[in-house]
Symmetry: C2
Subunit: 317 residues, 2 copies
């Protein structure tokens, strides 16, 4: 329609300066009238680039992951990369399926949660030669770079805080442990308190499950003076349950969480929690994978510091 070759159209689209003004305007007019849109696939086939990054996360239905993904998406966007989200439902096999899917789509990098992978994952990634970064954990000796906090340390920090306040009858409220090395790490850290841990119970990551499990703890081990909840969702659920049945926090029972959700500071009482820098983690992970993809600079593992936010829900025993 513009009476030029496809090469010239390509130039108008990519290096408009090398085309004479007259032809450029001709082509632009034709593009406008024809509502021409260049095919992304055809461009990708030439550049060998898709500018897509895949994120494999357990679920979005949990504030901690959605804030992380949100931060990643914003950071990647700044480098012209787009994020494909794939949820695995804490299931290692589903993670493997989704990994295949993402690699088939042609993602140029993968972000995963934790360090444990299903058999075959490593081979898949090697075959596609795609950068992988693990997050939500810090495991420098596992082959793939990890950017995150040390879950063992986090669990230990939480229990140490309780011990420093004199608690020696602690109940641990854990999230699901299956296919979840992050929670397992936290639990190991918490169990360094040894005898001081009276009981460990597993709950779903919901207020109702936290309430039910709190009830169980109080029935089975009524002498506990502190709840250590491995996620803030559980701690918030426990706080609500304890308040409902008239147990006063922290007077009767201290409660500490891990995550430090933004909402935790506004609870009654404000929840003491180990702050996990998930927003920073999202930014750092996104920046690292960008560097790796664009400049082939493999990042080294990076430990992000988690620190306690001592609020009103824990007290000297």
């Amino acid at each position: 329609m513009a009476g030029v070759s496809v090469a010239t159209v390509s130039r108008v689209l990519n290096k408009p300066t090398v085309v004479s003004k007259a032809t450029r305007e001709n082509v632009e007019r034709a593009i406008e009238t024809l509502k021409f849109v260049p095919s992304s696939s055809a461009r990708a086939i030439n550049s060998g680039r898709t500018r897509l990054v895949g994120a494999l996360i357990p679920t979005l239905d949990h504030a901690i992951f959605s804030r992380f993904i949100d931060a990643m998406e914003v950071q990647l966007d700044a480098s012209g990369l787009s994020l494909i989200v794939a949820t695995t439902g804490y299931d290692a096999d589903r993670e493997l399926d989704k990994t295949k899917r993402l690699l088939n789509i042609g993602v140029e990098g993968l972000i995963v949660s934790g360090i444990a992978r299903a058999d075959g994952f490593q081979e898949l990634v090697e075959r596609h030669q795609v950068p992988v970064i693990a997050t939500s954990c810090f495991e420098p000796d596992h082959g793939i770079p990890s950017i995150g906090y040390d879950n063992f340390q986090v669990g230990k920090d939480a229990v140490d805080h309780l011990r420093s306040l004199g608690h020696s009858n602690i109940a641990i409220l854990s999230g699901p442990i299956a296919d979840n090395d992050r929670t397992r790490g936290r639990l190991s850290g918490a169990l360094t308190a040894g005898e001081a841990v009276q009981t460990v119970l597993e709950a779903e990551l919901s207020f109702s499950s936290a309430a039910e499990t709190s009830r169980k703890i109080l029935t089975e081990t009524p002498n506990v003076t502190a709840f250590l909840c491995l996620s803030d969702v559980l701690a918030q659920g426990a706080l609500l349950y304890l308040s409902k049945i008239g147990v006063q926090v922290p007077r009767d029972i201290s409660v500490i969480g891990i995550d430090d959700l933004p909402s935790s500071a506004s609870f009654n009482p404000p929840l003491t929690s180990i702050h996990l820098p998930v927003v920073d983690m999202g930014k750092e992970a996104a920046a690292a994978i960008t560097q790796w993809i664009e400049a082939d600079i493999e990042p080294s593992s990076k430990k992000l510091e988690a620190e306690i936010r001592d609020r009103g829900s824990t007290i000297q025993v």
Copy 2:
């Protein structure tokens, strides 16, 4: 390496039955040793398909959207479609930028929130000829199909509930209204109560902002007997604040929310809320865009019923 033409390799990959067993195994062996991976872009260029769907949402940092996205992702996955998430931060211009990005990537469909779009959006999608479905609203007369609840009705249902309990001094706690036609719709519905609405205040979607705004309401209009919160986050924040300052809900003040987050049923007291079927909405929207993409069947707008969950936080005045 297998001593065959590329055509035969292509056949082994796509229609293995038409290739003789001997050559097939030869090719498969070569694929294995070479760790050959077919290029997704080259495939896409032939099929004209990317199997990608884009979702434009205000933020993931809000349970209501992340649950919606989670449900969509699961449903799309079942049809072999993948989801690219783009967040707009409630900003119409950023939404337009992200739309361009998604269309350049080659998404085959778009899911958007609400019906109001920046200038130029319509032209962009028409140019790319991509199906678009609006969610979180029901606006059958706006050109693009919408799958969601009627925000006006939802706001009206909430205020009608309060009125039916005899409340005639109602405070409305709204979320941000800028670039958010969903909240505006709810507010219009709530304002049908006319004189009964004493005050309308806008808050950020956080517990702390909800607390601060609740404080303001009690100072400025101490005679209110009910809080109508246009999001559960605000209602939960209000509940926590009121409890902290010793105001009893529902004895002193009734509180009703909109969203019905899973956590709301476990609050103290359990929060009365208008249940919004976001998980169903995610599934329905995903199924509809799949049908549209795969079979060119344009869906008609669908209204999903929102219904009140009458719990303990509202009472006869």
